[in-house]
Every structure is written in structure tokens, then in C-alpha cells.
């Protein structure tokens, strides 16, 4: 029998019913009286100076009520306080096609759309920069004047352990280049915001955002309105995946247009605009050198990444660090060096997408491990099991590891798929592949430096036994409202359906930093548990008195507080609430969570990587390749995921399956690609989200390591399971046709290309991928040499 009454049960999500009846109100579903429709004018140039904006013709258009431009909101903003390089609407200069330039509010959307054509913008074109290589080299073109070298946004160099000694001790060294193509979140709901500035000089902004608290701060900064006069309400997000975790131009434009007109203003992006808002997966070139002993034991890893950041910072500083930070938490690495560079280019800004910054290196590294296993004639699954980073340990880059279930995930996969027996045995055109991975359960540090909790929750019990949980989390479809209700219900001995959840409202709920970095279950879960346990103590004190049973013998479940030794001796929860309120006064409690200190290092850059608990996961992919047409079919993906404890197994499985789906899409087809700075396919017809007829059979296996610090033992489940799917599919394709795909996506044309080209022995071309920067065409060593020289110069300066 379970020790829990709610945790571990497959209960329907408390917010399901609104979604299933059409009653849920997403931002675009709001139509306050007198509402105006807004639309944004966007830049048609990749890189240009704005010489003049004339809105007079547009303002004269019947039905147009107000227009705002960048000059109205010149304050710099951006999600990371240390790298704010963006404005709500472009000021003086545009840096990508699609960048918002002006906002129009009109009586209806048709009129707003017409008005856009009547705004006259005179641009003076500047030379654009589109590739990583150009960005590294072009000193003469500066996308941002803040770049010290060429168009470098951020350069990171970290070294741990004895790298040279490690490589010297290696029996075998692999040196591989990889390229991970950029792609985007494509939530089915496009971004939308409704702003209402009232006669009381207060602003309310309903918006599809993952980060109501951070947005609250930025609105204050940009609008010059005290935060006390701003209320941000995160509406249910119709999918987000990281794409709604920046402050966006349309949110500020709607707010300012409402302030100017004193009428509610709505701006909803159309699908094409979502591709320009982007903040998705960075294109990353990688070089990975790994030294191993004969038995495969890793002696050293040197990982280098070059990230194409697009036109603005977004989370780029964190993304850059994340490409290097988490490679160490899965397998033992005694010496590790990480060099990362993120550059600016004249394309929509890249940012965090599910797996933020860790997806690309994990793809490269797990593909490389597959090669190492082959080089050493080791079974890839058995090999990974032998080199696991142990539980309750420290990595070479000083990350604290607690619960660690990767070994259990690998065992579960072997049982479910018989991977080891089937690898290499399926015949030409069929293959099976494996990969492991890890992810964080929330970042160890907040985005802005402060000593306050990362998550706060408040619970109120009313006189009828009703329970309201208030927490600043944003419900993006990951099930956070249900998590809050479930944790509170378990602690209080009621059912999730008894709980009212108020989330994502900066006025009604304590701060939670937001739905990003898979932090909500762990951090908000702990905060709400903290609050609930305080109320539980009050209820138990009252029940103990009434039942004349010592508090330590009391338990709570199914709306009763009862004697463990005699369950028929109980007080109903509602009655206990009345007793407790009579005794202690109004039943309200607050709880909070802050990650423990000392979970990471103290060096510069140590802030990215630490988390209170890592999730672990592994996947096996089974594929078929049509050798004549090059069509790749992924028949099945089995993913085992260590989520600590499944608070609701149905929802955890949903996250695992959804992650597998998204990873599958990334490697098979999805790509955010450009032609001369213009997105090549900004539509859901040409940007290929997999349909039901494409998606593999997805099997989710839940592994529970019961984390000592997680709420009831839980860790994250929303992002990590994406990571292993991509290299598992690449490794399966190798098993099927003997071609290594060291770049994504694996398209039919690339497969045909590989199968058509033969090497000297008549075998198909055994590898598709880059050989360096510039696609290996020019000497990659030049850029590397420059990079090394600048690094050396800086280090010399530091030493002197």
C-alpha cells in the first residue's frame, strides 16, 4: 500500500476541465469592453539604420487610435540584467528581419493591418552578418557596439583537472566536429497580450508568458511605471517550451498603447511573427575531443562550442555556459576544458528551448560515445553503465550530484528493448540506437542577483474546508497548477480537486521565478509543501485535542485527519479547519524555497550548472531507412526517465512522450533556416512539425530515484527526456546504414547524398557533418587560432 493518498496516482489534472470544455481563457480569448486591436510593424531589413519613421499617414487613417515607436520606449531591456541589449521596439537601428519597429492600435484588426502599410520608414542599409564564421571575423561590421571583438557576444573558458595529463594518459583520443541546426518551439498558441491601463493609473497585463515576475520587472523599467502599479497575469499558455520566457516587444507596445489611449489593447502575433519572435534553439558548431583508456574510461574531455545567437542576448549568456556545464554530470570525467563563444548575427534572437543549451552538446557527446564504443568494441549500453558518475558525488567542475538514476534508466531500457542483442543485427536499412542524458531541476541561481526565495506559495483554508493555493508559477501545459494542487492536497490530506489554484498573478500570488529551467515541480513544489506543512501542524494540533490522540499518531488523507492506529477515529478536514481557525485564527500560511548553498563551485561562471537535483534519462530509438528514397522512419522511441518520484505518473509520462516527440522533430526535419537574413519557411506548412502519421510509437518508462530534497522525492520531467532522443536516433541511423550524422537534421536528401557517395572501399560515405568552422571549406584553424590567441592574451593579462 502506498504511503500517499494523492502522490503517485493518475488523477486528472485539476485544470483539465476548463481546457476540455473550451472555458479556459488564453490571452487571445479575452475581449474586455472598448478593447482596441494592436499590430506591430516589423523590420523588412536584416541590418539597417532607421533614418526616419513617419506615422502621420497611418494616424490619419480612419479607425487608427494610437501609434507608438521605439522612441517612446528607449529604455534597454532583456531577460538577463547583465546583458540587456534590446528595446521594446527598435530604436535607431534594426538588427533582423521581423524586428518590431512600431505598434498600432485601431478599432479593429483589419484597420490596424491596413495602417501598417501607411507607416513610412526610411532605412539606411548596413552590411549584414549571417554566419558564425562571419561574425567571428568581421571587425568592420558591428551588430552591437558592445562587442569587444568582432561580433562576439560572450566568450567563456573554463578548465578543470589536469587536461594535458588526461589526454597524455589516454589510449585513444577521438576528435569530432558536430553541427546542431537551429530550430524553434512552435507552440500552437501564438504569443498574445492584453493590456489595460485603468483610471486608477494601474496597468494590468494578461499575457502568455512563462515569466510573469521577470516581465513585471522589465515593464517597470521600460514604462517608467512603479511595479506597485503593474499587475501581470500569466494566462494559460497554449504551449511555450521556452518560447515565451523573454519579455517581448508586443507586451510593452500593448501596455504603452493602453496607457496612451486608456483603453484595453490586445496584440496577438500571427504565426509568421512567432517565427520572428523565436528565442529558440541556437545553431551550434561543436568540437569535442575525448581521451579514453582501452576499457573506455574517460581520461579527459575538451569541449568547444560556437553558438549563433541571432541579433540579441536573450538568455544567451546562460545558453553559452549550459553548452559546457552539464556534460560532466552523467559519466566520470576527471579532466575537462570548456571553451564557448556566442556570436551576434542578423537573425531573430535565439534563446532557451526545452533542454536549454544542453541539447546540442549532449547530441554531439552521445554520438561520440557511440563511436568510442565502436572503436573499442564495447557494447554502448554496457559501456555507459560502467562509466557512470556516481550518486552523491562531485563532478570535476564542482557540481553536486545527489540522486542519480541513469544506470537504472539504462537497465530499464535494456529490459524493454533488448537493445544490446539487437544492435547490428537488424539488417541493412534497420537500426537501433541509444543515448543517455541529464538535466537540471531548476537553476541554482535566479536571473537577477538576490537573496530572496526562488519560489513562494501561500495557502488559505476557508471555513468550509476549501483550500486555495497561490503561487506565481506560470501554467504552460506542463501541469504546474495540478502539481501545486497535488502537493498541497497530499500534505493536507485532501484531494487535488478540492483545491483552488491561483497562479501566475503578480498581485495575488507570491513570487515564483517562472516556468523555465524545469524548476517548478522542485522549487514551487517545495514552497507549497512548506506552506501546507505549516497548516497541517495547526490542523493536527486541533484534531489532536478533539480526538485526544497524540499528534504524532495522526495522519491525513481523503478529507480526514485520523488516528494511524485506529482509522475509524477521525475528524473531517472541514471540521478540523473550523477547530483550527477557532484556536489559531485565520488559516493562512506562506512557504518558500531557496536552493541550498554550496551545490556548485565559486569560480567565475560557476553560477550556471548547479541545481538542487539532476534528472537523468536515456532513450533507445528504432529506425528504418528507405534506401531508395532516403526516407527515414523512426519506428519507436523508448525513453526511461529518472524523475525522482512521479507525483502524477500520467503527467510524467506525458512529459516524457512530449519530449521524445519534440526531439524527434528536431532531428528529422525541423530547422529555423534563413536565406539572406529572411526566414525561409515561417509557416506551419513549411516548418515541419511532425503529425500523428509521422510520430513514432512512444513508450515512456518512469524511473524513481526518490530525491532526498525534492517535494515527496520529485525531480524534473519536462525537459531532460528530449535530450537523449536526438543522439539515439542518429546512432540508430548509423546502425541502419553505416553513416554517421554529425549534423542535424537528418533529412532524406542527406541520406541519399551519403548513400550515393562512396568511399575508396565502395562503402557509402560514412559521415555527414562539418570538419571545422566554415563547414571545413576554409582553414578552420584560423578562427581557432584567433580564439586561442585572444584567450591566451586575456589569461596573460589576468596573471600579470
Amino acid at each position: 500500500m502506498s504511503e500517499f493518498s494523492v502522490i503517485g496516482r493518475r488523477l486528472p489534472k485539476v485544470n483539465s476541465w476548463a481546457h476540455l470544455t473550451g472555458e479556459a481563457r488564453y490571452a487571445d480569448d479575452l475581449f474586455p469592453p472598448r478593447m482596441l486591436y494592436g499590430r506591430l510593424l516589423r523590420s523588412t531589413r536584416p541590418h539597417a539604420r532607421i533614418k526616419r519613421i513617419d506615422v502621420s499617414r497611418a494616424l490619419a487613417h480612419p479607425g487608427v487610435v494610437a501609434i507608438v515607436t521605439g522612441a517612446d520606449m528607449p529604455e534597454k531591456m532583456g531577460i538577463m540584467p547583465s546583458t540587456q541589449d534590446e528595446t521594446a521596439l527598435a530604436v535607431d537601428k534594426v538588427r533582423y528581419v521581423g524586428e518590431p519597429v512600431a505598434g498600432v492600435a485601431a478599432v479593429d484588426e483589419d484597420t490596424a493591418f491596413e495602417a501598417l502599410e501607411l507607416i513610412d520608414v526610411e532605412y539606411e542599409d548596413l552590411e549584414p552578418v549571417f554566419t558564425i564564421e562571419e561574425a567571428l571575423e568581421r571587425e568592420d561590421v558591428k551588430i552591437h557596439q558592445t562587442s569587444k571583438r568582432a561580433n562576439v557576444f560572450k566568450e567563456v573558458h573554463l578548465s578543470f583537472g589536469d587536461l594535458d595529463g588526461g589526454f597524455a594518459a589516454a589510449d585513444h583520443v577521438r576528435d569530432d566536429w558536430f553541427f546542431f541546426e537551429g530550430n524553434t518551439h512552435a507552440p500552437i498558441e501564438s504569443h498574445s497580450a492584453v493590456a489595460s491601463y485603468g483610471p486608477d493609473d494601474k496597468l494590468t497585463l494578461w499575457t502568455a508568458t512563462q515569466v510573469p515576475h521577470y516581465l513585471h520587472r522589465e515593464l517597470e523599467k521600460v514604462l517608467g511605471l512603479p511595479r506597485s502599479r503593474i499587475r501581470v497575469i500569466a494566462t494559460p499558455n497554449g504551449g511555450a517550451f521556452g518560447g515565451k520566457s523573454d519579455p517581448f516587444g508586443h507586451e510593452f507596445a500593448a501596455a504603452l498603447l493602453s496607457m496612451r489611449t486608456r483603453r484595453p489593447v490586445k496584440i496577438t502575433l500571427d504565426r509568421e511573427e512567432v517565427f520572428y519572435a523565436h528565442r529558440g534553439r541556437h545553431p551550434v558548431k561543436m568540437r569535442i575531443r575525448t581521451g579514453v583508456k582501452k576499457d573506455g574510461e574517460i581520461t579527459a574531455v575538451h569541449y568547444q562550442s560556437w553558438l549563433d545567437g541571432g541579433a540579441y542576448a536573450s538568455y544567451g549568456i546562460a545558453t553559452t555556459y549550459y553548452t559546457g556545464a552539464l556534460l560532466t554530470v552523467t559519466y566520470r570525467i576527471p579532466a575537462y576544458k570548456f571553451d564557448g563563444v556566442r556570436v551576434y548575427t542578423n537573425k531573430p534572437p535565439c534563446g532557451p528551448k526545452r533542454g536549454h543549451g544542453t541539447t546540442q552538446p549532449r547530441y554531439g557527446f552521445e554520438c561520440q560515445l557511440d563511436k568510442i564504443a565502436e572503436d573499442l568494441r564495447l557494447d554502448p549500453l554496457d559501456y555507459r553503465k560502467r562509466i557512470l558518475q556516481p550518486a552523491n558525488s562531485r563532478t570535476v567542475n564542482e557540481l553536486r550530484i545527489t540522486s542519480m538514476g541513469l544506470g537504472d534508466c539504462l537497465d530499464a531500457l535494456q529490459r524493454a528493448t533488448r537493445y544490446s542483442e539487437r544492435r547490428g543485427q537488424l539488417g541493412r536499412g534497420k537500426g537501433v540506437g541509444l543515448a543517455g542524458s541529464a538535466y537540471i531541476s531548476g537553476a541554482g541561481l535566479p536571473i537577477y542577483w538576490n537573496e530572496m526565495p526562488h519560489s513562494g506559495a501561500e495557502i488559505r483554508i476557508d471555513r468550509g474546508g476549501g483550500v486555495t493555493v497561490m503561487c506565481g508559477t506560470s501554467e504552460i501545459g506542463q501541469g504546474s497548477d495540478n502539481m501545486l494542487a497535488s502537493v498541497a492536497a497530499e500534505a493536507l490530506g485532501i484531494l487535488p480537486s478540492d483545491v483552488h489554484v491561483v497562479s501566475g498573478d503578480t498581485s495575488l500570488a507570491p513570487v515564483d521565478l517562472g516556468s523555465y529551467s524545469s524548476r517548478v515541480t522542485f522549487m514551487a513544489g517545495n514552497a507549497v509543501k512548506d506552506a501546507a506543512m505549516k497548516l497541517r501542524a495547526l490542523l493536527f494540533a486541533a484534531a489532536s485535542e478533539k480526538l485526544e490522540v497524540p499528534k504524532k499518531r495522526l495522519l491525513a488523507a481523503y478529507r480526514r485527519i485520523y488516528d494511524r492506529d485506529d482509522p475509524e477515529k477521525f475528524v473531517l478536514f472541514a471540521d478540523a479547519a473550523v477547530l483550527a481557525e477557532s484556536k489559531h485564527g485565520t488559516l493562512v500560511a506562506a512557504g518558500s524555497y531557496q536552493p541550498p548553498k554550496g551545490i556548485g563551485g565559486t569560480f567565475k561562471g560557476a553560477g550556471v550548472g548547479p541545481t538542487p537535483a539532476y534528472s537523468y534519462q536515456a532513450a533507445v530509438a528504432e529506425v528504418s531507412v528507405d534506401l531508395e528514397t532516403g526516407t527515414l522512419t523512426v519506428d519507436k522511441v523508448t525513453t526511461a526517465h529518472d524523475c525522482g518520484r512521479a507525483l502524477n505518473p500520467a503527467n510524467v509520462e506525458g512529459q516524457i512522450e512530449g519530449s521524445a516527440y519534440m526531439g524527434y522533430g528536431e532531428i528529422i526535419a525541423e530547422e529555423q533556416v534563413f536565406r539572406g537574413g529572411l526566414h525561409k519557411k515561417p509557416s506551419l506548412l513549411e516548418y515541419k512539425l511532425p503529425t500523428s502519421l509521422d510520430t513514432p510509437v512512444l513508450e515512456a518508462i518512469v524511473v524513481e530515484s526518490v530525491d532526498a530534497e525534492g517535494p515527496f522525492g520529485a525531480k524534473e520531467a519536462g525537459e531532460g527526456p528530449l535530450n537523449p532522443v536526438i543522439p539515439a536516433i542518429a546512432n540508430a541511423v548509423y546502425d541502419a546504414i553505416g553513416v554517421r550524422f554529425d549534423e542535424t537534421p537528418i533529412t532524406p536528401e542527406k541520406i541519399l547524398d551519403a548513400l550515393g557517395k562512396r568511399d575508396r572501399r565502395g562503402q557509402p560515405k560514412s559521415r555527414i557533418g562539418p570538419d571545422g568552422l566554415n563547414g571545413g571549406k576554409s582553414d578552420p584553424k584560423n578562427a581557432l587560432r584567433r580564439l586561442t590567441a585572444s584567450t591566451a592574451a586575456r589569461e596573460r593579462k589576468r596573471m600579470s
Binding site: D28, V97, D110, R271, E272, P682, T691, D694, P748, L752
Partner: protein, 338 residues
């Protein structure tokens, strides 16, 4: 939201009335300027092709003549030949037992157009008249403004796919058309003065802008297929996903068997050029054979040669040409006499 441009709708109850309205309101040639061709009046049936194009401002007519209320616009009748009314939905064609059995390629093609919802709305007439497609053209007004337009929406601009091309290279993309070609379809169009029959193979021309010989004041009313006794047919489509996508290479093959030998054959391709076409050089060698591999290879070679894809859809030129070859082989193998 992405709105349609403003227009008014006229809903005639007959094709004659529709043709009359077109003439009255001056249906004529396009004036391609500023990225949105101004055509005063256009026809719309299911709307699944025209409305997305209008939302992207590829067209912005003031008046739409809807065929939705035309009486007896939908239906499939057999009397020796098969008569399909132009307003018949793709779903109805894909599900029709007779079409599935006798005109298999057409049922297969209609059944893989886009999505179930779209097939419930889209008509066979609309599919036959589908606008040609190109990834420089099927973009929003904003996108095309940023890119600088193309020949198809602005006569002052070159074809962006191949700047030296004297004509627009937009791609024929209708699934049902190669099936109809392989099944020897004839179409009937009407204008205010009367009607004319056109063999479908003469309906299309190698021009992404003027892709058909239909005039703007004409209405497509019926499609006729000859008796298909002894014929077997199939349709194969290359696309990135299992639904939504237009073909990026497609082939229909129809073969009539007579005593174990092929007595007649037609092979048609689409999405491999601006014009869907019969590949006679692929069909002729099949006559009199039992479709042995070496004959199929000759036919596949002919298809490969006829396929002239350009780099303006998803996928690559070589991949699409390769698919045309492979599909010819696979289709013909599947049509061998049992």
C-alpha cells in the same frame, strides 16, 4: 489574427449565373503590382487554396463568386463513363466505392491531399485549378516585401528561382491532376456564352503564372473519365510528412491489361515542373509487355528525364528526381497483372 482582405461575396445558384457574374464584373487579367495582384473578381469553391493566398495578400479581389450554393455542383455519376461534378469534395471522391475500385489512382490522390479537414472542404474542381506554388511566392505580403517580390506578383521583377528564366517557375502541386491525366480526364468549362470540353492534358501550360488555358471568365463545371474496364491505376506522392504537405514529386500510373499483357498505359507526373504532364515516353515501352523489370527501368528512366524540378519547394532537386524514378518503378511493379 491574420485577416482576409475586405471583399464582398456573391452566391449564384447556377454555373450560368456564376459565369454571367464574372463577365458582368469584368473578370480579366491580373495587374501584378505592389505584391498583391488586383483582380476585381475571383471564383471560390472550397476556399482552401484561395483563402490562404488571400490572407497572404497574393490576391485581394473586391468580389468573390462563391460556388458553394450552386445547385447540383457535387456528385459522381456513372453511365459508361464517370462524370464528376466540379464541386465534389475530395473526401467524397476518396471514399466513393466505385472510384476506389475502378479509378484507384484518383481515390488515392484525393485521399492524400493535405488533411482530412481540408479534404472535407476542398473540391476536385479547386484542386484541378490549384494555383502553382513556390517558396518565393507562397509567403505573406510582409515576407515578399522584405524579399523584394517575384515575377508572379510583380511584373517588374525577375523569377527569383532562376533569375535568367523568361517565365515563372512556380510548381504544379495538385495531387489529383496526375491521377486524372493517367485516367484520361476531360474537363468541361463554361463562360457566359456557353461551354467547351478540354482534354485535361491540353489544359495546363508550362508557365507558373498562366498555368492553365482557362480564362478568368470561365468556370470549371465537370470532369469526365472514360470507362476504366481493364485498367488498374495507382498514385504515389513524395512529401515530408504524412499529411498537410503538398507533393514535392508525384506520379500516377494507369495500365490496361489484356490477356496478361499491357494493352495501354499512361504515366503522369506533377510537382516536378510548372506543368503536370503525361510522360508518353514512359508509357509507350510498356505496351505489349508483362511489365518485366527491364521494361520498367526504361519507363522509370523516361520519367526521370521528364522530371525538371527546380529549387523552390521543400526537399532538393536530386531527391525529387530520384523519387520520380523510384515511384515509377514501384507504381508499375504494383500494377503487374496478378
Amino acid at each position: 489574427m491574420l485577416r482576409l482582405p475586405r471583399f464582398r461575396v456573391l452566391s449564384p445558384r447556377s454555373y450560368e449565373e456564376a459565369a454571367q457574374l464574372l463577365r458582368e464584373h469584368g473578370a480579366g487579367e491580373l495587374d501584378r503590382s505592389r505584391g498583391t495582384p488586383t483582380l476585381r473578381i475571383m471564383l471560390v469553391a472550397g476556399g482552401t487554396d484561395l483563402f490562404p493566398n488571400m490572407k497572404r495578400r497574393q490576391f485581394a479581389p473586391e468580389l468573390l463568386v462563391s460556388l458553394a450554393r450552386v445547385r447540383d455542383a457535387a456528385g459522381i455519376q456513372q453511365n459508361g463513363q464517370l462524370d464528376i461534378s466540379a464541386g465534389t469534395t475530395l473526401t467524397a471522391i476518396a471514399n466513393d466505392p466505385l472510384v476506389r475500385e475502378r479509378y484507384t489512382a484518383l481515390a488515392e490522390a484525393a485521399g492524400v491531399v493535405s488533411t482530412p479537414q481540408l479534404r472535407n472542404m476542398g473540391t476536385i474542381g479547386g484542386n484541378v485549378c490549384l494555383d502553382t506554388r513556390c517558396n518565393w511566392y507562397d509567403q505573406s505580403l510582409f515576407w515578399r516585401t522584405a524579399e523584394g517580390f517575384c515575377m508572379k506578383t510583380n511584373p517588374d521583377v525577375v523569377c527569383r528561382v532562376a533569375t535568367s528564366s523568361p517565365r515563372c517557375l512556380a510548381v504544379a502541386s495538385a495531387d489529383t491532376v496526375p491521377a486524372l491525366l493517367a485516367l484520361d480526364a476531360t474537363i468541361h468549362v463554361e463562360d457566359a456564352d456557353g461551354g467547351r470540353d478540354v482534354p485535361l492534358k491540353d489544359f495546363y501550360q508550362e508557365d507558373g503564372i498562366r498555368a492553365t488555358t482557362m480564362r478568368p471568365d470561365e468556370v470549371l463545371t465537370d470532369i469526365t473519365l472514360p470507362d476504366a474496364s481493364g485498367w488498374r491505376s495507382t498514385y504515389l506522392k513524395l512529401r515530408d510528412r504524412g499529411s498537410f504537405d503538398f507533393p514535392i514529386a508525384a506520379l500516377a500510373a494507369a495500365v490496361r491489361h489484356d490477356g496478361g499483357h499491357v494493352s495501354d498505359a499512361r504515366i503522369a507526373i506533377t510537382a516536378l515542373g510548372s506543368r503536370p504532364m503525361l510522360v508518353e515516353a514512359a508509357a509507350t515501352p510498356l505496351i505489349g509487355t508483362r511489365l518485366p523489370d527491364e521494361v520498367i527501368a526504361i519507363a522509370a528512366d523516361a520519367v526521370h528525364k521528364a522530371a525538371r524540378p527546380m529549387d523552390n519547394t521543400s526537399g532538393t532537386i536530386s531527391q525529387r528526381k530520384r523519387a520520380a524514378y523510384v515511384f515509377a518503378e514501384r507504381a508499375l511493379r504494383s500494377l503487374r497483372a496478378a
